[in-house]
Amino acid sequence: MSHTAKPTALKMGIPIPNSKLGLWLFLGTEIMFFTAFIGSYIVLRLGSRGWPTDPHDTHINVFAGGVNTFVLIVSSYLVVVAHEAMAQRRFAKARTYLLGTLILAFLFLGIKSVEYYGKISHDILPGHIAETSSQAIRKASRELEVVVRNRFAEYTDSGAVSTDRPNDIVNLVVQIAALPSATAPEGVSESTFKALQESAPADAELYSKWMNLHQHIVAEASLTVPATGPEYLAAREKLKAGEKLPALEYSEVESLLSELKSDEKYGAYVASGVFDMHPLVYGNIFASMYFLMTGFHAIHVIVGMILFAVVLKEGSKLNETWTDFVENSGLYWHFVDLVWIFLFPLLYII
């Protein structure tokens, strides 16, 4: 290999390895990829007065985000020193640093999944969030219906109640209410049937609680007044022109739910199936942006981990032919760090 001080006139291009040029071009597209999200987020947020920022509502944990920022910075530092060690031909040292980076990447994803779990366990998911009180009431009623239907499925699945219309909930509740005085049908074990007979009154009661709420939602009437039957019609008769029955209030439904959740018979089912009522204006678009940006960032973290694993797979055979690869994956990793440096204040603080 000859060492010419200056490139000859025929030498074209930029004085960096092709792989590095390619990586930088790729990072150029990555900048646009992430700023498309970050830019949309900023624009959507500016257009949404009352964007949710209270950590109590959003379940955003600034300390988890801060620790994750720190984790990525340490890993970025380790990549830099790993590349330095590669250039100095200290390959064992470089491997140790890269292993450290890989472990920190796992740690980052671990903390991220704890954060995701915090959102999922409160139903902070795109499309799931009630944005107004009336949506929150309807959402709670839908969730309560699912709880009731799941309870009823125990009766139909075991064969204690037979029906050709499993979705006809009224038909089911009539049969379930009559269960305590019925005899076990063929093929249903005595002990199963006895247990179902014992739980039947509670489940029928839970059904009536849900149905009562449902009827009040349909009638748009407060739980303090009847919503069906002759009493309801009589109450409506008495109204003067322009008058309305008292409206269903958010707080009424909230206290009904906490009452149901603390019930000793079916409270556990309600508590596990019905989320805390929590209207959150612009919560859905917030959740979309949060999961879109942190999700794509996490995918980039995983890709970086694969790159480092490829280097580490070389084991003690790691040599100078990998120096450019380590530099390029390091550049990519710094970019992943860079994205997080902006996501952290934008999502967790502002």
Binding site: L25, G66, Y77, T132, I350
Partner: protein, 148 residues
Amino acid sequence: MSHDAHGSHTAHADHESHDTHHVNYLAIFGILCVCTALSVIFDVIHLNKALTILLVLSVAVTKALCVMMFFMHLKFEGNWKFVLLAPTTILAIGLPLALYPDVGASYYTQTAPQVTNWADEISAYQAEQAKHGEHAESAETPAPAHAE
């Protein structure tokens, strides 16, 4: 090892062009850690909103510059870095500016009921629309959404 020693010389020579600069990476790392701590502190002490935004974004830009200049070695690269990065940066800044007039103004109302079963609801809606089309005179105006 003699092979390694020989390789070391050429590898070193190859990298000499862009590896001669000495950066105190530990110091940069220290700055980044302090900046991260500052971001969290600015959030926890509850300053006024505009000031917090200004402070944490300045901290983020500082951190980004540190990472780009020193960890990514952009400070020591040739002018190709501008050719490569200027267009994407300009487009990246242009995107939010282009979107702002359309979307940055309030863009959707949250008072409509949540859609829970899209396929059924859209076919019910279309059936309703078709009915209204036939009896245009008797068509009722849609009930207003439940405002809070």
